[in-house]
Symmetry: C2
Subunit: 342 residues, 2 copies
């Protein structure tokens, strides 16, 4: 039979389309489009008929199709390390608020600190044709984004710089913060200060280590290799590292912790000891005030906000050299950093 009705091959569970609405309202397709988009040039009476049909059918515009036609998706992507980390929640939220103010949705993904996964995610977002991309790098080579950026995907890197590529970047002053934190310990009389940090291929970790070394050098203090421990932030590893620095005949009298996770574990480890050990941690932590933990605080929300604002300025057509912004950190003394050497 020649007339087997040509049935569409999928249909979203049979959602009504503008065509259906048009048929029901007895108007043209384009008129429905006009009503839905609030475009002028529709009689109040026609508009009412269309709205009734929309109601009756439960029609909702398919933004996927719209995107295809318009070329902008009104969405931005955010690739971060781990949404469950209390540092990234506020950052993501800040990005979301800026996006919302610009009428855009946010798609985020966690790289779990895996460069391959970062790339996979970022490219998947590009395939979705996000208008812009904010990336907290896990890897150190971002040339894979070059074609995307050339094709017009605005891209901003946050928290850590991009690798082998020029792009807008928003950072915290890790070097300066760590230097100030260690100097604070020095000022309170410490001469043997330990540093427990994350893997040094992570830019912030390397910078903080550099800040530590700079502060020690500023004070004319030597740095014993045994005082420096870099590696994963696994609690077990950090505990071992702390324990090692506190053992032996010449133990450290103070610790600088390279990020929030290290700080938490270090506090737990120190809590079990009798001899007081001074501690300054990078990143603020909830309840740190009650525990009296001195920290170098960075403003995660400000990082996200700044990056997002930059992104949307690019999307609004800003055309200038990529810029690198460093946000200041803040020393918050709360007791643990003011303990004198034992």
């Amino acid at each position: 039979m020649a007339e087997t009705a040509r049935r569409p091959d999928h249909r979203y569970g049979n959602r009504p389309t503008m065509k259906d609405v048009a048929a029901r309202a007895g108007v043209g397709l384009k008129t429905v489009s006009r009503v839905v988009n609030g475009e002028p040039g529709v009689t109040p009476d026609t508009e009412r008929r269309v709205r009734e049909a929309i109601q009756a059918l439960g029609f909702r515009r398919n933004d996927s199709a719209r995107v295809l036609r318009k070329g902008r998706t009104a969405s931005v992507g955010l690739v971060l390390e781990d949404l469950a980390d209390p540092f990234y929640g506020p950052l993501s939220r800040a990005v979301e608020e800026v996006a919302r103010a610009h009428g855009a949705l946010l798609i985020n993904g966690s790289s779990a600190e895996d460069p391959d996964r970062e790339q996979e995610l970022a490219l998947a977002l590009c395939a979705r044709r996000v208008d812009g991309l904010i990336v907290i790098p896990a890897g150190d080579d971002h040339r894979y984004l070059e074609p995307e950026m050339r094709a017009g995907v605005a891209t901003v890197f946050v928290d850590r710089p991009a690798g082998r590529i020029e792009a807008d970047t928003v950072l915290s002053d890790s070097f300066g913060g760590a230097r100030a934190g260690v100097a604070h310990l020095v000022a309170h009389g410490h001469r043997r200060i330990g540093f427990v940090g994350d893997r040094p291929r992570i830019h912030t970790a390397a910078e903080r280590l550099r800040g530590y070394r700079a502060a020690m050098e500023d004070a004319g203090l030597p740095v014993d290799d045994a005082w420096v421990s870099l590696g994963s932030t696994e609690p077990a590893r950090v505990r071992d590292a702390v324990a090692a620095m506190l053992a032996g005949p010449e133990p450290v009298t103070a610790l600088f912790a390279g990020n929030n996770r290290v700080t938490v574990t270090a506090v737990r480890e120190l809590a079990g000891r009798t001899r007081p050990v001074a501690l300054v941690g990078f990143d603020d932590i909830e309840l740190a005030d009650l525990l009296g933990i001195t920290v170098i605080a960075q403003d995660a929300a400000a990082l996200g906000r700044t990056a997002a604002q930059r992104l949307f300025r690019r999307l609004d057509g800003l055309h200038e050299e990529p810029r690198r912004v460093e946000l200041a950190t803040r020393l918050v003394p709360r007791g643990s950093g003011e303990i004198p050497p034992a």
Copy 2:
């Protein structure tokens, strides 16, 4: 001139399309599609030519267009309250992991506890044609989702039940948790126990209050209206509430805090006092172990994981009555809940 070339009206910053790739490789459009999608029926030699062209042009498939054709977007939406809240970060991350295992992306949105914003977000996600939707309700009427659900959008509610609509729901046992927490205080000798909670229109807040009352009644204890305070979780309000309960001739000797934010503020307020007051809080908190805060812990990640698994089972075609799952809570004694009455 009749021949002014018809220029496309937008172009994504001029991204190459399959057509461009086909032209460059000297093959047909569909052949490119086959290569990109790993479909069979392409000679190795042809495939190589296509891949070279893709490389040379920096082509990346436009998933927006793909979605339009295929009907599935491979993305799910999550509407939560506030991504910056340490409770929701892990929940969102757990959803993301399940989605990733199913090859889907996650689009997040924060409702800021505003029902209108919740609706706006959820419907925007539907317009993007997410395959499924996970909602942590801010409002108490979700009939607006009925057309969407009928149209095939799988929907699961988490943490709080849906309002005026039947749908899959995953909850923590707020009632039982609060009841157990208050019973714990009673077991340690307390008879005057205060309850500081969130606004009662929030389902979990109401349930926890109910649990509190049940535990008091179980123990045959009266509840003075002055011991119950419900309202925003603003620190100022919570501090005032706590202060009020501790003032007067017959102050409470123990407090039950209705959620993580209340707990944090209560701990801060109690820290400034000399007379010890027992405290049990709902939700676990980072570092609560060090501060010795006894809590009723709920597993945010398990909530998210369970909900997401349910969602994808629906997407895989599961067809059965909506189900309501309640996850158990866990009492974690750490000291503050075991303080005897002063």
